[in-house]
């Protein structure tokens, strides 16, 4: 009659020992430790990615759970859409322009942040601030700064008599100004990361190289172009690649700042995909638009991985 509790206790101990034994083997423990990450990646990256491709070859809508496969029809319709064509152009232009600005300014900031001066921690903090702000929040702040009625820029210009008071500059209403505003926001938010990467690159350059060159009579510019930039180039590439991914795939800046306007002058692939697929209900076409970002991102990822393996410490 007293046997059952003793048996249960023995079984629990034996199972515990077996589990302990299993988890002590690296061949088991390694995959177990990696499993959460793999599940996370599969669930939040893999499944959506596959779903996008499935939808892109279908006639799926937001209002229906069922859909049929329609081959390349959705892609043909997407390619014929003039707004889509403009969105491709804008996405590339915004990415290239913002990253040119980022790399020039981030290099300067990298020098500033790696220099030794009083109050450099405050400077570093201020430079990093945009990076810590969620893009939606920062875009809203920019929206108010560029608002046609309440823009502080317009108020300052009015006070300086650069424009008549009460006749605002339409920062988001003129094509060129709107494009400039979106590019400026993208550059502003991706610059801190690039600056930190470049600062790390600058501090990793052995100071002896510059000191030796200085002794040999090389001036600042000569050292900059012949020593610093060549050694900084690989890490600069990493900064650019991160910036490209962040800018190419972002829709928040356009969605909040311009809604793709004026006209469709600032429409980008991500925003047009959202407007068509979610707001407009044509999930398939929205997915097809998103798929066009894929080749660029794959290319950038390959470059990033190659770069990463190139600097791997062995």
């Amino acid at each position: 009659m007293s046997a059952p509790p003793a048996t249960r206790g023995t079984v629990i101990v034996e199972e515990s020992v077996r589990v302990h034994h299993l988890l002590d083997r690296d061949s088991v423990l390694g995959p177990v430790l990696l499993a959460p990450l793999m599940i996370y990646l599969a669930a939040l990256v893999g499944v959506p990615l596959v779903t996008v491709f499935v939808y892109a070859f279908s006639d799926a809508t937001t209002g229906s759970e069922s859909f049929s496969f329609v081959g390349l029809e959705t892609f043909q319709r997407t390619l014929a859409d003039p707004v889509f064509q403009g969105a491709i152009r804008n996405t590339i232009v915004f990415t290239v322009l913002s990253q040119i600005i980022v790399i020039v300014l981030a290099t300067i900031l990298g020098f500033v942040m790696s220099a030794d001066f009083k109050g450099k921690w405050i400077v570093r903090f201020l430079i990093l601030l945009p990076w810590t702000t969620p893009v939606a929040l920062s875009a809203l702040a920019w929206l108010w700064m560029l608002d046609s009625l309440f823009s502080p820029f317009n108020w300052i210009l009015g006070q300086l008599h650069a424009v008549p008071i009460g006749t605002p500059v339409a920062w988001l209403g003129e094509n060129n100004l709107a494009v400039g505003s979106v590019v400026a926001l993208q550059a502003w938010r991706t610059m801190p990361l690039a600056a930190v990467i470049l600062m790390a690159g600058l501090t990793s350059i052995p100071p002896e190289l510059n000191e030796q060159a200085e002794v040999d009579g090389a001036g600042f510019w000569r050292r900059l172009f012949d020593i610093t930039f060549p050694l900084l180039a690989p890490i600069m590439m990493v900064a650019i690649l991160f910036g490209i991914v962040a800018t190419f795939t972002d829709m928040a800046a356009v969605y909040i700042l311009t809604h793709g306007g004026p006209g469709n002058a600032t429409q980008v692939l991500a925003s047009w995909s959202f407007y068509t697929g979610i707001q407009g209900g044509s999930l398939a076409q929205g997915a097809a638009i998103g798929v066009f970002m894929f080749p660029v991102l794959v290319g950038v990822c390959i470059l990033m991985l190659r770069r990463a393996s190139g600097v791997e410490v062995t």
Binding site: L29, T61, E65, G173, E174, G260, G263, Y275
Partner: protein
């Protein structure tokens, strides 16, 4: 390498009273982490299972709707709905989000097969027809009590092509012209404009005399108000996106004339700000004193009453403006309140009971929206009081009869997609801003009016073709 995170430290022989009190082995970490992850993953499912439909005879009703433009409405609605729940053994939850997030949230819930039992849209939700419950019983029951739905309401919640009521429309907000009386008086129109030509002349003169400080306020932006304005103008010039049988009719001389008018309006009376607006911009411009005329509901005016009474006293309303000779002047409904019940809802009957209760309380929703919302059935319990309220605004208009022009708003308001129904195709044209973009292209001089209309037609026809293939839209061309 084997070992613990606190390698070298002795293990707590007692087994430990807390995680921080003992060393954590990799094994423990994996086991506890796994348990924690499982619990975190399973918790929402357990909660959801507990919260759905009925439990022991007690019912639940989850409502999702926009944060109303008139905040007093939400203050009334939430406790009112909960009080109904208390009387009907139902726990009612009301969630409010920005109106612009309703489409995204609805799409997410429909695709997840889980979420709210009632979702309120302020634009026609036609694209969700395949995934929402049939509402014909609710519409018919309300019509039996309060008279047939107005045409524009029926064309908002009914698809004549599939013969299906996919929503329940119970109220709308009219979209009159809002103008600054003192400015229009100086421009020779003390009672405001009655035609689009009047409006163009007056706003041009006002812009000129104020040296650009006060401008016209018709938007050309990718946002709802610009969409409404573009449609009102097109209808008043005799054009439309589609005919009543859902054939595309955008490429017509009437629409080209309307686009040409808008280009002139921009050049003479407005500035590039109109290309960058969101839905609140024209309200803000009117209240700030920067705009002389906008198309909007009375919400901008109600805001001004509270924040800038002197401006509110100067804001007056006009009926839809006359366009081409012999064409009836029309305005789009500004918002049209339509509830849908997703098929996944386990509280469909409860939701329908609630909607019938809402329809019985027209007086309440009209009054608590400060006359922003008007019923779409002619004989509701608000019918007796509404004309008196519009003659003598209980919310302290000065003069008190300022809202009188809304008394016949049901005769000049039409649905998005008029003269046809508000189909998924019309919804996508609206949501992808095809018409304001067409107007903007001509206004900026990027395209001639004719070219802008032809390009819009290409886009619109592609959208119609796509939805016809899904069997949700009629017509052939």
């Amino acid at each position: 390498m084997k070992g613990s995170l606190n390698a070298g430290k002795p293990r707590d022989p007692s087994g430990g009273e807390g995680l921080l009190a003992r060393s954590v082995t990799r094994r423990d970490f994996v086991k506890k982490g796994g348990l924690l992850a499982f619990s975190a993953g399973a918790l929402p499912t357990i909660l959801l299972a507990c919260g759905n439909g009925t439990s022991g005879g007690h019912k639940t009703l989850k409502i999702l709707q926009w944060s109303h433009f008139v905040p007093a409405y939400d203050k009334w609605f939430d406790p009112w709905a909960k009080a109904w729940g208390d009387k009907n053994n139902t726990t009612v939850t009301v969630d409010h989000i920005n109106y612009a997030d309703i489409p995204t949230r609805t799409a997410a819930e429909i695709n997840a097969g889980s979420g709210h039992d009632l979702i309120l849209w302020i634009v026609p939700p036609s694209q969700y027809e395949p995934s929402v419950a049939d509402m014909s019983d609710v519409v018919k029951a309300v019509e039996a009590k309060y008279g047939p739905q107005l045409d524009f309401a029926r064309l908002t919640n009914f698809n004549p092509h599939t013969n299906h009521y996919f929503g329940f429309t119970y109220s709308f907000a009219p979209d009159p012209g809002d103008y600054r009386k003192s400015l229009f008086e100086k421009a020779g129109l003390p009672n405001g404009p009655t035609s689009w030509d009047d409006m163009l002349r007056a706003t041009t003169a006002i812009k000129s005399t104020t040296k650009g400080a006060v401008r016209g306020g018709i938007g050309f932006s990718p946002e709802p108000d610009s969409n409404m304005a573009a449609r009102a103008l097109i209808w008043s010039f005799g054009g439309s996106e589609q005919d009543k049988d859902q054939n595309v009719t955008i490429n017509s001389d009437q629409v080209v004339a309307a686009v040409d008018y808008m280009a002139r309006l921009f050049k003479q009376a407005e500035t590039s700000e109109v290309f960058s607006w969101n839905a609140a911009s024209n309200n803000q411009g009117l209240v700030a004193g920067s705009l002389s005329y906008i198309l909007n509901s009375i919400s901008a005016y109600r805001t001004a009453q509270k924040t800038k009474p002197e401006v509110a006293n100067d804001i007056f309303f006009s009926k839809p403006l006359q366009g081409a000779a012999g064409v009836k002047a029309l305005a789009s409904e500004h918002v049209i309140q339509t509830y849908i019940i997703p098929k996944f809802s386990k509280s469909q009957d409860t939701a329908k009971q609630f909607l019938l209760y809402l329809a019985d309380h027209a007086t309440d929703y009209v009054q608590n929206s400060e006359l922003y919302e008007l019923p779409v059935n002619p004989n509701t319990n608000a019918a007796a009081q509404l004309p008196g309220w519009l003659d003598n605004d209980p919310f302290k208009s000065n003069p008190t009869n300022k809202l009188q022009i809304l008394k016949d708003a049901t005769t000049w308001s039409v649905n998005v997609g008029y003269p046809g129904p508000a189909s998924p195709a019309i919804g996508e044209i609206f949501d992808t801003n095809v018409l304001p973009t067409m107007m903007a292209a001509a206004a900026k001089g990027d395209k001639t009016p004719k070219q802008a209309v032809a390009d819009a037609e290409t886009q619109i026809k592609a959208i119609f073709t796509k939805w016809r293939q899904k069997g949700l839209v009629g017509g052939t061309t």
